[in-house]
C-alpha cells in the first residue's frame, strides 16, 4: 500500500470515527448531571445483594460473565508470554550475580515489602466493601513483591517468588472462576448468578458469591502478573545468547 493510499485510508477512517463519536456524544446526558439511569439501577441491585462496593457488585455479580472474559484474556496473555519468552535453543541461562545495594535502599525495601503486601492483601480482602478488589489488590501484591528486586537483587527476588507454585495457582484460580459459575446452575439459576447466602450488609462475608469470586480473581491476578514479570525479568537478567 502506498503512502498516499494509507493517508487517504487514515483520513476516511478518522472522518467516520469523528462523525459517529460526535453523534454518540450528542445523545449523552450532560456532564455532572444528577440523573444516572444506569447508576441508580446498579446501586439498587448491589444493595439488594448486600454488597457495599457497587463496583465489585457490577464486576463479580451483575456483570460477572464480562469479568470471566477479562480474566480469561489475562490468563491467555500470561500463558502466551510464558510460551513465547521461554529460552530458545540458541540461548543459555547465566546465573545472576549478587548486586551491591546501598544499606539505606535495603532498609527501605525491608520495611516497605511487608507494608505493600499487607496493603495488597487488604485491598483483595475488602473488595466487596471498599474501593479495590481482586484485580487492584492482586496488582499491588505482585508489584510489591518486586521491591525485593529493587531493594536487593535478583537472587533475593527468586527466594521470595515460588514460580512453580504461582504457575499452578494462576491456572487453578482462572479455572475456579468458571467452576464458581456452576454454583448458580446447581442451585437452579443461571450460570454465575449469585445464589450463595448474602450475609449481613457491610461485613467481610457479605455479598454471597462476590467475595469468593473476588478472592479467586485476586489469586489469579497476583500470580499471573508475577509470572508475567518473571518471564520479562528472566529474559533481561538471566537469558543470554550462545
Amino acid at each position: 500500500m502506498s503512502r498516499r493510499v494509507r493517508l487517504l485510508l487514515l483520513a476516511g477512517a478518522g472522518l467516520v470515527i469523528a462523525v459517529v463519536f460526535a453523534a454518540g456524544c450528542a445523545e449523552l446526558p450532560p456532564f455532572g448531571s444528577p440523573d444516572h439511569p444506569y447508576g441508580e439501577r446498579a446501586v439498587a441491585a448491589a444493595l439488594a445483594r448486600h454488597t457495599a462496593n457497587v463496583v465489585s457488585s457490577v464486576n463479580f455479580d451483575q456483570r460477572a460473565f464480562d469479568t470471566l472474559g477479562e480474566e480469561s484474556i489475562l490468563f491467555a496473555s500470561v500463558l502466551g508470554t510464558v510460551i513465547v519468552l521461554r529460552p530458545a535453543r540458541d540461548e543459555d541461562r547465566q546465573e545472576p550475580e549478587p548486586a551491591r545495594v546501598l544499606p539505606s535502599t535495603r532498609l527501605f525495601g525491608a520495611l516497605l515489602l511487608p507494608v505493600t503486601l499487607l496493603t495488597g492483601g487488604y485491598l483483595v480482602a475488602h473488595g466487596q466493601l471498599s474501593p479495590g478488589g481482586g484485580f487492584q489488590g492482586g496488582v499491588v501484591l505482585a508489584t510489591g513483591l518486586h521491591l525485593a528486586y529493587v531493594a536487593a537483587d535478583y537472587l533475593a527476588l527468586r527466594q521470595v517468588r515460588p514460580l512453580a507454585v504461582l504457575d499452578v495457582a494462576d491456572a487453578l484460580a482462572a479455572g475456579a472462576f468458571s467452576v464458581l459459575g456452576l454454583v448458580g446452575l446447581v442451585a437452579g439459576a443461571a450460570f454465575l448468578s449469585n445464589t450463595l447466602p448474602l450475609g449481613t450488609f457491610n461485613t467481610l462475608s457479605s455479598g454471597g458469591l462476590v467475595p469468593v469470586i473476588n478472592a479467586v480473581v485476586g489469586v489469579e491476578v497476583a500470580s499471573g502478573v508475577i509470572v508475567l514479570l518473571a518471564q520479562f525479568l528472566d529474559q533481561a537478567v538471566e537469558v543470554v545468547d550462545r
Binding site: 455532572g32 462496593n53 496488582v139 499491588v140
Partner: protein, 89 residues
Amino acid sequence: MTDTLIVLALLAVAACATGAVLTPDPARQAVVLSVLGLSLALLFTVLQAPDVALSQLGVGTAVTPLLILLTVRKVRRSPRRGGDQEPGA
C-alpha cells in the same frame, strides 16, 4: 472547586500524554508513561472512580513501564541478527 480539579487533572493528562508521544527514547518514554499513569489515576480519583484509579495506578504506573524498561534492556543487551544485517547500527 471540583470542576477546577477536573480541569487541572485533564490538563495534566493531556500534557503527559503529549510528552510521552514526543519522547523518542523508549527508556525515557517508559518513565513519562509512568507519570501519565499517575496523572490518569489522579483524574479518575477526582471523577470519583477510586476503583479504576487503583487499577490505573498499579498497571499504568508500575507494571507497563516496568515491562517496557525490561524489554529495552533485553534488546540493548543482545544486538544480534539486527546487528548482523546493519553493521554499526
